[in-house]
Structure formats: C-alpha cells, structure tokens
Symmetry: C2
Subunit: 161 residues, 2 copies
DNA sequence: ATTATTATTGAGATTCATTAGCAATAATAG
DNA sequence: CTATTATTGCTAATGAATCTCAATAATAAT
C-alpha cells in the first residue's frame, strides 16, 4: 500500500481530515530514503515551490509517527531527526562520531534480546532503538577520535550543503 | 577512584582549572544513582543552598561527559537527560511508554552484536545506545497503549514532584 | 450541489532549553 | 605575591518546537 493511502486510512480511523499539505509532505519524505529533520524537510519543500508553513509541518510530524510512516531516530545538534519506516524493513544504525556517516544494519539477535528482556521483566515491548557509535574505516585510519573529539559543539549553519 | 579525583585528573590533563562549583556539581550528581536533567540538577543544588548558576551548570555538563563521569541517555520532553556512568557497569534501558518507569538491564549479547557489526563494516566502535520501549506489567495489564498513547505531548510543569 | 460544522492552515507570537557575551572573580604557574 | 587567563554569574540571544487566532477548506448532512 502507498504511504499516502496508509495515511488516509489512519486519518479516517481517527476522524481527522486529510489535506493537500499533508500529502505533499508525505510525498516529499518518501521520494527518497534519506533521514531528515524538520528544517531540512521545510527547505526541500520550499526548493520545489511547495509552500507549507513550518507550523503545519511540525503539526504533521506527530501524525506521521502515529500512523507508522516515520519515526524519530535520534536527537542531535539540538533537534530531532526522523526517517521513514513504512515499507522499509526494520534496521539499526551505525554512526561515525567523526564524519557523521550512517550505516543501516540488521541483526537477528536484536529481536532475541528484546524478547528475552521483555519476558524477564514482564514488559510488552513495542519498539527499540539500537545505535552503535564509533569511527568509520576512513576516520579510524586517520586516527581521529584518539586525541580530541568535539562533543556538544553545535555546528552552525549546515556547512555541507 | 573517586569521581572527583577522576575529574581532577581530566582537568589537569586538559590544562583546565578546577573549581568548587564543579566539584559541588559532581558531588550532587553522585550522591544518588538517579537519572537527571539540567533543571532537576539545578533545583537539587538550590534546595541544598548550593547556588550554582545555570550557565555554569550547562557549561560543566560537557566536561563531565568528556571526562567519562556521565553520559546523555535520552532526549525527552524537550530536553536532555543524563546518568552517571563512572563506577557503574554498563547497562541498557527498558522504558515504559506509559508511566515512564525505567529498568536497567545488561545482556551479554549486546556486546557480541557490537563486535560482529563493527567487524563487518570496519568500524571502531566506542559506544552504543540500546533502549527498549514498551509497557510495564502494570500498564500493560490496564490495557494502556492499545487505544491511544500520547506521543509528542510535552507535559508542562513536572507534575510528579 | 449547498450548507453547516469544525479541523486545518499560515503567520506571528510564545515558550523553553541551551548557548553566547561580558565584566568581575579566582585558580594556577612562576 | 603577582600575572595570566579560565571560570563564574548575570543577562541577552538563539533556535527548535508549540500555541494563538482569524481565515480557509474538508467532510457530513441536507
């Protein structure tokens, strides 16, 4: 099923109303598999002359999460980052602490741990977040991270663009 | 070694200066094993008549992270949450999406996955974050989460206090 | 299709966590 | 003890995310 249809289903079930703005947002998110944040998404839309207000964008995000189209993947540089999950098999992230490169991986053991721990503590587990952080082959080779890494330093103004 | 001594070591190594404010902050953090956020910590200090400015507190947090005393555990309700890691064995978190209860658990498989994935992609892995989210026995029994869960709704004003 | 109801939009104001600027203070080296 | 300069505390600034409110538009009912 199309993400937009999936969303329509959710909207109907909840007694909400669908709008072109919301569908435009979904289209934009699903035209690539990249991770995104609110501001990036806003700019992507604006570059395509689709003027959606930031308020609407922020208001739509929780709906997309609840309908199972996207999820929040991590919080970094002072804001939330999301990725689509609808239509993609579940995966975890491996991230380079130096260059920011992200690799998606899947490992069957993760689910087994989840089941084991859930049973042990009597929890009904609905989701997990597993992120590995380290240095990618290139950055590790250059010896980055041995000396000084930048923690907590909010980079200003999206240099790489 | 005492957390404060550990911090002094770090300060010396970095050529920084130690201050009573910083030691007061460390003392307060390590007098209990509770998770905390910046504002909670500020209030705990104020209740004990230790007046540290918020600016200093925020400036100290990255130092505590870099020196290995604490780490950021999750981002929720619009702000960061931390926990001490120095002197405690590594663990992961199991969190109830309804009541917020947090259980710390350890599972040997987590490290094995980390090693396996690191080797597979040539990464030097330095840390991981593994969080399971679901419903605790009590909340699951009451059927919470089947109907409507509150996502993204920032609760105002720390009700439970 | 027309109308009534009310969810949604957009623009701007607001909130709140976090950071930055600056003058005064105090930690360290010499 | 003095000089250097990191650190503090205050306040202002920033920026993500939320809220307000009047105007608009999606749906249901006619």
């Amino acid at each position: 099923m199309d993400p937009i249809d999936k969303f329509r289903e959710y909207i109907k079930e909840k007694g909400l109303r669908n709008t072109p703005e919301r569908e435009t947002i979904i289209e934009e998110i699903f035209c690539t598999h990249d991770h995104f944040d609110a501001d990036e998404l806003f700019l992507r839309l604006r570059n395509k002359r689709r003027r959606i207000s930031k308020a609407s964008l922020y208001r739509t995000i929780p709906l997309l999460i609840e309908s199972g189209l996207i999820k929040e993947v991590y919080f970094e540089n002072g804001h939330r980052h999301y990725e689509q999950i609808y239509g993609y098999k579940h995966h975890c992230h491996l991230r380079c602490a130096n260059c920011g490169k992200i690799i998606e991986f899947a490992d069957d053991e993760v689910v087994k741990i989840q089941e084991r721990i859930g049973k042990k503590y009597g929890f009904v587990i609905t989701s997990h977040r597993f992120e590995l952080v380290g240095y990618c082959p290139q950055c590790a080779k250059r010896g980055v991270g041995r000396k000084r890494r930048q923690l907590f330093t909010k980079e200003r103004g999206k240099e790489a663009r």
